[in-house]
Symmetry: C2
Subunit: 204 residues, 2 copies
DNA sequence: GTTGCCTGAATGACGATTCATTCACAGCGC
DNA sequence: GCGCTGTGAATGAATCGTCATTCAGGCAAC
């Protein structure tokens, strides 16, 4: 409930400025690249003054981190939730993959930040890797091992490598999607990837 | 000081400087990231003056491009050479993959530049993509289609998607390798990837 | 008039690029 | 040999813009 009826534009309706800044930053970073983006641009798009940005974030870098933390956390949490609902390992992997691509496919700017901007320096990469990627790979790996125990997946495969193969394939779908001129739906690619993948790791 | 001193400036065959700068830049970019690297650092590591860099390269950006062009060209050329020697599509894919990972595994700094620095902005990404990646994906795709015609690979799969899956998996192996604290050989991972991949795309 | 959010001009650093200058050497006439 | 001079590669200090960040107030509401 944020209804301040009078003073149409004078009193900014307690709008969540932090939220506006994050959204603006995602767009600006996606369009210009992190290093070429000016804090002033972000402030302008968000409709606040340059200095206001520093009331909500310690630095430009912290903005990028916040974008990552917020979204990676949500994707992984949703992924884990799926595991409770489903029982079949194949189905779990399929749903996780679809969720992954649906998320990125729903917001192109966010996808660009995730696929490109967050990878642009070993420094970010290491944090990115330590933070979200490692956990995500672990999630996939757990499900795969579960499937191995159920006699569904080949036991001669290294689960860590398997997880990277699946993640790498999905990641490439996302990267190709944002770079492509053609507009197609990203999420459905998950099924094609899983088709090849599951066929490759399943017991015959 | 009329006497001939055999120190840094004895008789440097001019070509060596360009080479030295490229090598130095690969190291500096890999260590600090492209945007955090100062041209002065590159010059220092290369053992030349700041200004000298501009006798060989138009700009800092051109240095990054040169690193990419030189190496991407070589990898693809070698890949195509393999196609002439081998006949079996499976074997071709296996050798291409191994070549890919061997190349990156042989020079960690170069691998960092390829896996991380070149991806750090949509601008670079688009050029990178247009230049080498598209051609590389095409190479994989051709071989796959050849295998399809030979009745070796499933014909219900989209060759473009298949190529991306394989590339994505290999790419992830490389990225994980450079971020990993543990030191292992990269090239052998190609066999594990191909095991899953070929199993997934082959006719039963 | 006080509190607390906001503002945006000013500041200070930083770093890519430039360019006036140096220097080694090659050719040349003697 | 021996000066003399032209050449251009190499140098690195100075330049010039460009921002991230700061901070001295402004303004609304109570």
């Amino acid at each position: 409930m944020r209804s301040v009826r009078y003073l149409p534009a004078a009193r900014p309706p307690v709008a969540d400025k932090r939220e506006a800044i994050l959204r603006a930053a995602t767009q600006v970073f996606a369009r210009n690249g992190y290093f070429n983006s000016k804090v002033a641009d972000i402030a302008h798009v968000a409709g606040v003054a340059d200095g206001t940005v520093y009331l909500y974030f310690k630095s430009k870098e912290e903005i990028l981190h916040s974008i990552f933390d917020r979204n990676a956390g949500e994707i992984i949490a949703e992924g884990r939730k799926l595991l409770g609902v489903l029982t079949d390992a194949r189905e779990k992997l399929r749903r996780i993959a679809t969720l992954h691509l649906e998320r990125l496919g729903a917001d192109r700017d966010l996808a660009v930040v995730f696929q490109v901007e967050l990878r642009g320096s070993t420094k970010f990469m290491e944090e990115f890797s330590a933070a979200g990627l490692a956990e995500y790979l672990h999630l996939i790996r757990e499900v795969f091992e579960e499937g191995q125990r159920a006699g569904m997946f080949r036991t001669d495969l290294n689960a860590k490598v398997v997880a990277k193969v699946l993640f790498g394939a999905l990641d490439e779908m996302a990267t190709n999607w944002i770079l492509s001129k053609r507009r197609y739906k990203l999420a459905p690619m998950a099924d094609q990837v899983l088709d090849i993948f599951l066929n490759g790791v399943s017991v015959r």
